[in-house]
Structures are given as C-alpha cells and as structure tokens.
C-alpha cells in the first residue's frame, strides 16, 4: 500500500496577460512541466518524474493546477516548476510562471488546502476592490458560496475565521 506513494503538487498559473487563461489545459501544462524537467534534470530526471506523472485537476478560471508524481521524484518536479516560463497552446504562446501552493500526499489534503486558500483569496480580492461595482460582484459571489455549501461547514462562521 505504501509502496506506491504519490505526491500531489498544487500550483497556480500566474500571468500578466489575461489571454493566458485559454492556454491552461492539461496537455499544454503537462508538456510545459515535462519540458522544464527535461531541461533542468536531463533524461534521467525526465524519466524519473514521468512515472505516474499526470495533471490531475485544472481550473482555467483560477489558474489552479494539481500535478501528481511519484513520492521519490517530487523534489525533482518541484525544483523544475520555477523554470516554466510560458504555456503553448494552439500555436499561441503566453508568458507565465507557476506558483507552488501546497504539496500533499493525497488529493483530499490538497482539496482541503485549496478550499481554505480560495476563501482567503476571495477576501483579499474584496479588500483590493477598486470600485464599487467590483465590490458588489465579489460580495455577491462570496455570499452565494456560503449558501450552497453542503455538509458541516456553516458558511457564516467560516467566513469570520478566514479574515486576515
């Protein structure tokens, strides 16, 4: 059971160009990451990390990417992520960089982290609003999030915990 340990690396794609969002798809991101590993760690590193390597989850709106790799080679993967400088898709290339948010042993821990992270990000966006219209928009989506949450998390209390 422990013999096939994997690591899940959660990162976000940050770009100055808003058109970069359309490049965020699993094939483009996977190729960019593998190319970076090949440049930084060579044939050996590429082969090591390619075992069980896949893009598990992608969110083009927030730029969140979840990568999976073997536990033995997650350090090679993490050290190569800063060397991704652009994403290629459909003959378009946009400069960007990957910000590593969290490394977890299971998808569930990464999901928990992502939920918490998204909450704090929403609050930060609210604080950095430049005009009233944006503020209204974000407030509306914040409130609608808390209403549709299922299980034990009661929206209002969690919002208070998440203030910075």
């Amino acid at each position: 059971h422990a013999a096939l340990s994997r690591r899940y690396v959660l990162c976000e794609v940050v770009s100055e160009d808003p058109r970069c969002r359309q490049c965020i798809e699993d094939r483009a991101v996977g190729l960019a990451v593998r190319d970076a590993i090949a440049r930084v760690h060579g044939d050996y590193g590429l082969a090591c990390c390619s075992i069980s390597f896949t893009v598990k989850y992608l969110n083009a709106y927030t730029g969140t990417v979840l990568l999976r790799c073997r536990k033995d080679s997650y350090r090679l993967l993490c050290s190569a992520l800063p060397f991704v400088r652009y994403l290629d898709s459909r003959a378009q290339r946009y400069p960007c960089f990957l910000n590593t948010l969290h490394v977890g042993g299971t998808i569930r821990t990464c999901q928990k982290f992502l939920i918490q992270y998204n909450r704090t990000q929403l609050l930060r966006l609210l604080q950095n609003c430049t005009n009233d219209e944006e503020r209204q928009c974000i407030q509306k989506s914040l409130l609608s999030c808390s209403l549709t949450e299922e299980q034990s998390q009661s929206g209002e209390e969690e919002e208070d915990d998440g203030t910075e």
Partner: protein
C-alpha cells in the same frame, strides 16, 4: 580508545574511522574513439564531459563542479576531479555518452579513488619480474 593491559605501561591506541569524509573523488578515464576522427583538445574534452552531464542530468548536472586535472591528447586519457556528492551523476553520464562529433565514442573508467595519490599506481598494470 583501547587502553593497554592492566599493570603494563603501554601507549594508548585510538582508531578513528572517517566515513565519506573526502571532499572530492578522482577518476582516471580514457576516451575511446573506435571510428577514428578528430581528437579533442583539453577544452573540447571538458566540453564533452559537461555535455554528457547536461544530456543525462540537465542543467543541474552540467553545473556540477568537475575539473580536468590532467589530459593527454595522445592517449586521450585524463584525470577528473568531482565533488563527492556528484560522483554517481558524473560516472553515469560518462557511461552513457555515445557520440563525439557524430562518431562513436566510449569512456573507460580505469581507476577511481577519493585520494589523488592512489591514482599514481595501478596494481592491474603491475608487471612482476
């Protein structure tokens, strides 16, 4: 420390064992070019070693501190020095290098030691008269 026997005034004996304490490892290597072709000079030889590291281990491998201490163009043999933590990367990269200027080549590692002095003698080529 192993003290002397009771009642005898012997000198104290102490043994210190240092494991993997050497900073560098030294390799005596020879480049074989079975198909002939241009022989590399010292700079080209170093470039070849760094290229081998870059192919197998990427930019991180190519940045490994490797020095060519001596090089003989006639016999294509050299003494390389590498930081101890990089020995496996260097040796594997030399093993897997197959081509120099589109001609087949092979690196033969003749001797390796954490001490440079140990490379001066080679019991394999010892001739007993």
């Amino acid at each position: 420390a192993r003290p002397g026997g009771a009642g005898m005034a012997t000198a104290a004996f102490e043994r210190r064992v240092l494991r993997r304490a050497a900073e560098h490892h030294y390799l005596r290597v020879r480049l074989e070019l079975p198909d002939g072709g241009a022989r590399p000079n010292a700079a080209q030889f170093k470039q070849l070693v760094v290229t081998a590291l870059r192919e197998l281990h990427g930019e991180v491998g190519a940045a490994l501190p490797v020095d060519v201490l001596t090089y003989e163009e006639k016999t294509l043999s050299a003494i390389l020095r590498v930081i101890s933590s990089g020995l496996v990367k260097l040796w594997s990269a030399l093993t897997l290098l197959g081509f120099y200027q589109n001609k087949r080549c092979a690196f033969r590692v003749l001797q390796t030691s954490p001490f440079l002095l140990a490379l001066s003698g080679n019991s394999r080529e010892l001739v007993l008269d």
